[in-house]
């Protein structure tokens, strides 16, 4: 794939990720538990991981967190998102390299890692281990949202393949 084309595609994915972050900020989902999110933007990161490589997906992830954080959040929300985003990215990247799961399983791992990463940072910020009491709720929500996002990404991928994006499975 040409360089220009890649730049254009990555830019498009970043825009999509940012938009998904915005849509997510409009959806009241969380049940009063800090750290629980739908993780819609993870869709774009997951797609990127399958269409290009870890490097591009990581850059996309960090950029959309910073952009979304400055636009719709604050310093603390950026801190939590970065922790969750990096944990989730690293786990998904590793799982994809090990290559023993489908996109579904990888997405579930990512969702769970995202929530656990956030709660660890939260424990440091509030300086209390009390937040670990939330772990089971975070696990459950990570599994559910991960399944959902994995399912949707699995639906989108074949269409990207048809449009001459290089999908590596």
């Amino acid at each position: 794939m040409g360089k220009v084309r890649k730049t254009a595609n990555l830019g498009m994915l970043l825009a999509a990720a940012l938009l998904l972050s915005y849509v997510e900020s409009l959806i009241p989902f969380g049940f009063g538990i800090p750290g629980i999110k739908l993780g819609l933007a993870n869709l774009a990161v997951l797609l990127c991981l399958y269409c290009w490589s870890g490097k591009e997906a990581f850059a996309l992830n960090v950029m959309r967190i910073l952009l979304a954080g400055f636009l719709f959040g604050n310093l603390y929300s950026i801190l939590y998102s970065l922790a969750g985003g990096c944990a989730s990215f690293f786990v998904m990247w590793l799982a994809k390299r090990i290559n023993r799961l489908t996109i579904q399983g990888i997405s579930v791992l990512g969702g769970v890692a995202h929530n656990l990463g956030q709660i660890v940072v939260a424990a440091f910020v509030v300086e209390t281990a009390g937040v670990f009491y939330l772990i089971p709720y975070l696990l459950l929500s990570g599994i559910l949202t991960g399944m959902l996002i994995g399912f949707v990404t699995g639906l989108i991928l074949p269409h990207l393949k048809n449009r001459s994006m290089e999908v590596r499975e």
Binding site: R100, Q104, A129, Y133, P136
Partner: protein, 129 residues
């Protein structure tokens, strides 16, 4: 690795995580004895210790006004909850009332934690969660 094996792995992984989460949840709900007091902490520093047996509603509710912001803590029928707050996400207000040891109310934007504890000071009880 073929698709079928991968799908089986997906299933096993998800099942394992689900079981882990649910057993953790059950463990927490049944093990937790009723607490007798709540501790209000900000940035890891204890600001207040209140008894859960004394109601603090209406006028007597605890107004927590700190540099970070304002939260109104109410204790009613042995349960504590945050009634009002000026944090952006209001997640602390939406949280369920707490009464069992180890349960906590958390307001991340204000770095505030309200945790239930038992009679004697048992740091370990709080940490295991």
């Amino acid at each position: 690795m073929d698709l079928k094996t991968k799908k089986r792995n997906d299933f096993l992984l998800t099942g394992f995580l689900l079981i882990a989460a649910i057993s953790f949840l059950i463990f927490q709900n049944y093990r937790g004895k009723m607490g007798s007091r709540v501790i209000v902490q900000q940035n890891g520093e204890t600001l207040y210790e209140l008894s859960l047996t004394e109601d603090r509603t209406g006028e007597n509710a605890l107004r927590l006004e700190t540099a970070a912001g304002y939260n109104l803590l109410v204790i009613e029928d042995g349960k504590a909850y945050i009634k009002e707050a000026d944090c952006p996400d209001k997640l602390c207000v939406k949280q369920r009332a707490i009464s069992r040891q180890g349960e906590s109310l958390i307001c991340l934007p204000h770095r505030l934690v309200v945790a239930v504890e038992g009679e004697e000071k048992s740091e370990i009880d709080a940490v295991t969660y």
